[in-house]
């Protein structure tokens, strides 16, 4: 059984079909890329998997459980985390607070916060420690107490990944993690993603425009165009697929 199984998924907004009859499976431990031109429905797929949108038809199963239509916070608690295309940090909080919020989100206890028994202090110290070590592993230790909104763009992207990992997911969805990065940053990111999979035992789906970026990182690539899957397979095969080339050239995309 695959970790994530999307079957026959269709998403419509009014008369507009954003995704049509999509099938997609992500095996445990895999790194999968979702590529395709603008408006292909990649982010919509993420939004359905994370509960932001409801599927119009079809099913989304995570670890065998039907999750389509559940609220986002519940899906997060099941073990799916994500980042956003246009970076959505808690800009007014510090970097470490962003991570701590994610560490603590699922296990809040207002009465413990107010009464603060000894075990609350221990847990608080523990969370702080975890958050710090997570930041360290993403190279953000020095920015721990800086306001998230004030960080350079590249670090904001990293922080968003740190925050996602803090929810202890088994599946991580990265929405254009390399957008706006220069080649050397991209290289670092690629290494980081690979390392994170090992260290945290993650399965990763990432959306990317840049086919080269996903080439030696991903085992499989799924190509969407106009809401439909037009190709799927190992990167090398997909890259030579005439329909893929047409889709990219047709929209004038020089990304490939």
């Amino acid at each position: 059984m695959a970790l994530l199984e999307i079957e026959n998924l269709t998403v419509r907004f009014g008369g507009l079909t954003s995704i049509s009859k999509l099938d997609l499976a992500v095996e445990s431990g895999a790194i999968v890329a979702l590529i395709g031109p603008n408006g292909a429905g990649k982010t919509t797929a993420f939004n359905v998997v994370t509960g932001v949108y409801e599927p119009t038809e079809g099913s989304v199963r995570f670890e065998g459980r039907q999750i389509g239509g559940r609220p986002p916070h519940a899906i997060s608690q099941l073990g799916i985390a994500r980042t956003f295309q246009n970076v959505r940090l808690f800009r007014g909080l510090t970097a470490i607070e962003n991570v701590r919020a994610a560490l603590a989100a699922a296990r809040r206890s207002g009465s413990a916060d107010v009464l603060r028994p000894p075990r609350w202090r221990r847990r608080e110290a523990e969370l702080n420690e975890q958050a710090r070590s997570l930041l360290e592993r993403l190279g953000l230790a020095r920015e721990a107490d800086a306001a998230a909104g004030g960080l350079p763009y590249g670090e904001q992207r990293l922080l968003e990944i740190a925050r996602a990992i803090a929810t202890r997911p088994r599946l991580l969805l990265l929405d254009e993690p390399a957008a706006g990065m220069n080649p050397s940053e991209k290289q670092a990111l690629r290494e980081l993603v690979a390392r994170l999979r090992e260290e945290f035992g993650l399965s990763i789906v990432l959306i990317e425009h840049d086919v080269r970026f996903v080439m030696d990182l991903c085992e499989r690539v799924t190509v969407l165009d106009h809401g439909e899957k037009i190709a799927e397979g190992p990167p090398d095969t997909v890259r030579r697929d005439p329909r893929v080339i047409e889709a990219y050239l047709g929209t004038g995309g020089g990304a490939a």
Binding site: V52, R91, G92, A104, G110, L127, N128, T167
Partner: protein, 332 residues
């Protein structure tokens, strides 16, 4: 709580008790009333800060929950509590009987307001931004007009917190210690709620609801929680108001009061508890301090608001806390 924590609490209790005894001897009733009103304003403002400043929801109907607290606690005292108080007084010395009774009246007001907050919050918090604002304002007015039509609490005639059939029970309560103890509890509870890892959820919802949900924060529930907790303390503030004034009228809880509370919160700095405390204290005292100006006093008061906001658009303290680390170390 740690040992130093208990020591701090004990010290605070002692200081408040001392204030309770000393202040009425030092301050005349006029100043005493102002000081008590400041305490009540602080409670209401800090509780609203949880909703508006920390959870980022824009409520402009907080006075409605004060009204619920004030009227329910007053009615409780007049129709039920007076008898209990008399019964307590039969076995306890007078002041002790009152100390034993008052928490019940306050709790009655607080719980009633919290229930109202839940009932209002669940449907209203689906709304966003200014639509939420206007809905809270609407609920507050509906609550007020509903109270105005209840004869058992005096309707348009207002409601005196005195029980005719229990002349021995003195239901008025003007202890500084009580008001400030409650204010302190409010400040401690709300600051502990928000300044903890779990409490980051409130601010996460304020910063970005979608992102908050993506890390597992049940945004709607967090909003309702904030609303209910805030309503509870607003209700307690209302209960204190009713029992210290001895007479309540729905006019005291019109939308102007709600606006005043919003002003406290924004002027003090959204997301700053000490800011709300500061603004509530200054702006509650100001109309009385400015009495020397005669008819110009409210003109100056409004100029003060405008100029402060122009000079400090982020509020007096922004999102910072005044000496909070110190306080946290003491109370932590």
């Amino acid at each position: 709580m740690s040992r130093s924590g208990w020591i701090t609490v004990a010290a605070c209790a002692l200081v408040l008790l001392a204030l309770d005894v000393l202040l009425p001897r030092v301050l005349n009733p006029y100043y005493a009333t102002i000081v008590i009103r400041i305490g009540i304003a602080v409670i209401a403002a800090v509780s609203l800060q949880l909703v508006n400043g920390f959870t980022g929801q824009f409520s402009i109907g907080h006075a409605g929950f004060m009204a619920v607290g004030a009227y329910v606690s007053a009615a409780f005292s007049v129709y039920v509590g007076a008898g209990w108080l008399e019964a307590f007084a039969a076995v306890l010395p007078g002041p002790l009987a009152r100390v034993a009774y008052y928490p019940m009246a306050l709790a009655a007001g607080g719980v009633a307001a919290a229930v109202a907050g839940l009932v209002v919050g669940i449907p209203a918090l689906r709304l966003r931004g200014d639509y939420l604002a206007i809905a809270t304002l609407g609920f507050a007015e509906v609550i007020r007009i509903a109270i105005l039509n209840v004869d058992a609490v005096g309707g348009a005639r207002g409601f005196s917190v005195a029980a005719a059939d229990h002349p021995g029970a003195d239901l008025r309560f003007e202890g500084f210690g009580t008001v400030y103890a409650v204010a302190l509890v409010t400040i401690v509870v709300i600051s502990r709620l928000v300044y903890s890892s779990g409490g980051l959820s409130f601010r996460a919802v304020r910063e970005d609801e979608v992102a908050a949900a993506s890390i597992g924060v049940p945004a709607t529930r967090v909003k309702v929680e904030a609303f209910v907790v805030a309503s509870f303390f607003a209700g307690v503030a209302g209960a204190l108001f009713a029992h210290s004034e001895g007479y309540v009228h729905t006019n005291s809880f019109a939308f102007l009061r709600s606006f005043e509370l919003v002003v406290f919160v924004v002027l003090g700095g959204l997301g700053s508890i000490t800011g709300a405390v500061l603004a509530a204290a200054v702006l509650t005292a100001a109309p009385e301090l400015l009495r020397g100006l005669g008819e110009w006093r409210m003109v100056l008061y409004s100029l003060l608001l405008i100029v402060t906001m122009l000079v400090r658009p982020q509020g007096l303290l922004g999102t910072r806390e005044l000496g909070f680390d110190w306080l946290r170390r003491r109370l932590g």
